[in-house]
């Protein structure tokens, strides 16, 4: 019997004899008042109590739903070009003329678009003549002429009589909710496709980390010795080249294969960080008693790794994963942005941002949709990651 127990026994002896039955309330003190909670129930309740993390998770689910079902909601495709309706913003400033049912909008490339009062785009009004000297262009709309005076900044639409229109209205673009890009493609649909690519990259990064990173790191750490040294040297070498550089190299070798080559490039190197983390965990866990116990009863190494080491390393694995996923999304957007990622006409948030940069001065809305989406995805993943980290291991909280 331990020393502490004997001393309490002696104190009790003054009041109660050792052989008396315990009072009913002292028996109950040993009872567990509430049902036990498993580790995962604890994690879940800690995660759910963090408002930003839940918010991030909801945003991610929404983006995923839109990425999957969005294109069928808009009914447009990412590559259909309507060059007569290029560079049309989400909100149009349309001019109304007396006697005309429809209104007219001048886009940044000085094309006149006929718009219905409820915001539907009818067509690009054909141009009849263009007088370079007076800087006036005549457009023919339903029998009447419309003049565009582009000597002024911004250009002004005039009626057939040379007088300005009755009034200008701001109308929402009812056909293209987020406008069209420089080639007349629907920005909203392309944003959905871009989000789809981003989330697909996130999925690939997760799979690669889970399949290669965890197994590689686990084997390296658990087997140890020369195997570990060689395996980690390989990781060191891959780690020396900046990841983006390596992905570029792999992409060059594979040719401009669009999405598949990005996937292969990421898959071939993107597991090294995870491998390091898992190796570190395996190194510290493999000397613990429960692993020794498993070895004693003759569990094969594979089973020890799978059933004993990896479940115990799950916290750090998930935390590392949630940090690696946003950076994979960033790498894809970054490569597409500099022109060596997703090949056109496929839409990626990076290529969209790059295309929008060319027309930034006249059509800034084209930049807003892809950049806001990628920021939202990055924020959401970061909040979920922070929430998971705190929920899985409150000690790690920075």
């Amino acid at each position: 019997m331990a020393a502490g127990d004997t001393s309490t026994g002696r104190r009790d002896a003054a009041t109660v004899s050792d052989w008396d039955l315990l009072a009913a309330d002292r028996l109950r003190a040993q009872a567990v008042p509430r049902p036990g909670r498993s580790f995962w129930q604890d994690v879940w309740s800690r995660f759910i109590s963090r408002r930003m993390a839940v918010f991030g998770a909801v945003i991610l689910i929404l983006i995923a739903l839109l990425a999957v079902f969005g294109p069928s909601l808009t009914g447009r495709s990412y590559n259909r070009q309507e060059s007569s309706l290029a560079n049309i913003p989400p909100v149009l400033s349309a001019t109304e003329f007396a006697g005309q049912a429809n209104w007219f909008y001048v886009n940044p490339s000085l094309k006149v678009i006929e718009v219905t009062p409820d915001g539907h785009l009818v067509r690009q009004v054909p141009q009849v003549s263009d007088d370079m000297l007076t800087k006036r262009a005549i457009f023919e709309a339903d029998g009447t002429a419309v003049q565009l005076d582009y000597s002024r900044q911004p250009p002004v639409l005039l009626g057939a009589d040379g007088q300005p229109g009755e009034r200008t209205h701001l109308v929402w673009n009812a056909d293209y909710r987020l406008g069209t890009d420089a080639l007349g493609r629907d920005v909203l649909t392309r944003t959905f496709y871009g989000a789809r690519i981003s989330l697909a990259v996130a999925l690939v990064a997760t799979l690669v980390n889970a399949l290669i990173g965890i197994i590689y790191g686990g084997v390296s750490g658990y087997v140890g010795g020369a195997v570990d040294t060689v395996m980690m040297r390989i990781v060191d070498i891959i780690n020396t080249i900046p990841l983006a550089l390596y992905v570029i190299l792999v992409k060059v070798v594979l040719g401009s294969g669009g999405f598949s080559s990005i996937v292969i490039a990421l898959a071939s190197v993107y597991w090294v960080d995870m491998a390091r983390v898992v190796r570190g965990q395996a190194l510290s866990l493999k000397n613990q008693e429960f692993v020794l116990a498993a070895r004693t009863i003759g569990s094969p190494p594979g089973a020890i790794l799978r059933r004993h080491i990896l479940p115990n390393a799950l916290g750090p694995i998930i935390v590392t994963g949630t940090m690696l996923i946003p950076s994979a999304i960033f790498i894809e957007a970054f490569l597409s942005f500099i022109g060596i990622g997703i090949a056109p006409p496929m839409a990626s948030l990076g290529t969209m941002a790059n295309d929008a940069l060319a027309t930034l001065r006249s059509s800034p809305y084209q930049l807003l949709a892809p950049t806001a989406t990628i920021c939202l995805i990055m924020f959401a993943f970061n909040f979920v990651g922070d929430g998971l980290r705190d929920a899985l291991d409150p000690k790690l909280r920075a």
Binding site: P242, A333, F337, I340, L360, P364, T371, I374, C375
Partner: protein, 305 residues
């Protein structure tokens, strides 16, 4: 110390050698070879080209020739721009990238460390919240998004700064902000959390008990230990900033090394890709090595070996 330096130099060289080998093998496994184009060149022309660039020799011979060139700091000729060498690209681009990188580095250091200290000292109050919001924004917003947004607001809309180039002192503002945003946020967060941890230690209480002023407690006692994690990540940070970000150089039309590298990739200029990668890797390894030495000087407790 000397033994440690020699050992580290050795492993760095081996790593670099493997990087070179890897890039070499990758670049030589590109299907079609460097001169494959949409318009098929006559076989005699191809043979002549291959002979000129020694591509007709066995791979092993080519590899050792390449290594020999590297020892003389020659990265070979460009396959796409006749008469120009990879060295030309680096010599032309490096001054721009380095200058931008150095300014960014100075900016990041003089902003991030005080930000981290401020956040840690006012932990839980509004200065902490402000710093953490800035840091979270800096970490989550991709650099090209930040660059494009900054450019639209401050160059196009407000017309405060030029949109491209590095001609005026004001033209550095936006590239420095966009390039340094991530490192700034990361270092500020790191500084904050490590200082918070150090401030809870016993020796800080002792220093206060001696009656030292708060400024002296932080500068003489707390910072010396709290700065170590910051120094650890400084190596890759310095290398990344100095070699320049491809995206920033592209958006702001800065003729640095990054823009040459991106060009060489889109043009499939294999020797340039190979040479630039080797240069980046060598630079990165050197920086990590230098910072590692420095870090061991700051903290004598760290074992050499």
């Amino acid at each position: 110390m000397t033994r440690y330096i020699v050992k580290r130099l050795g492993t760095s060289l081996v790593t670099l050698l493997f990087v070179i080998l890897l890039t070499f093998v990758l670049m030589h496994s590109v299907p079609g070879g460097p001169f494959a184009q949409e318009k098929e060149a006559p076989p005699e022309v191809l043979d002549a080209l291959n002979a000129k660039y020694h591509l007709d020799q066995p791979l092993v011979v080519q590899f050792f020739e390449y290594l020999g060139g590297l020892l003389r700091f020659e990265l070979g000729p460009s396959f796409k721009y006749t008469g120009r060498t990879v060295n030309d690209f680096i010599v032309n681009g490096a001054p721009f990238s380095m200058r931008l990188g150095l300014i960014t580095l100075v900016f990041v250091l003089i902003a991030a460390i005080p930000m981290g200290i401020l956040a840690a000292r006012r932990n839980g109050r509004w200065p902490d919240a402000v710093v953490m919001i800035i840091a979270t924004l800096g970490i989550t917003i991709p650099s090209f998004v930040a660059a494009a947004g900054l450019m639209y607001v401050f160059a196009y809309r407000l017309n405060w700064v030029p949109t491209f180039g590095l001609d005026k002192p004001t033209s550095y503002i936006l590239p420095v902000l966009a390039l340094g945003g991530y490192s700034l946020s990361f270092l500020a967060r790191l500084m904050r959390s490590s200082l918070l941890e150090v401030m809870g230690q016993d020796y800080i209480r002792t220093a206060r008990a001696k009656g030292l002023s708060e400024v002296r407690v932080i500068t003489r006692h707390a910072l010396r230990n709290a700065i170590i994690p910051v120094l650890t990540v400084l190596g890759p940070t310095v290398a990344g900033l100095l070699t320049g970000s491809f995206v920033i150089e592209k958006i702001f039309a800065i003729p640095g090394m990054g823009s040459y590298f991106v060009d060489s990739v889109t043009q499939r200029d294999y020797t340039t890709i190979m040479g630039m990668t080797t240069f980046y890797a060598a630079f990165l390894i050197t920086m990590v090595f230098v910072v590692d030495l420095f870090y061991r000087l700051v903290d004598p407790r760290i074992e050499l070996g």
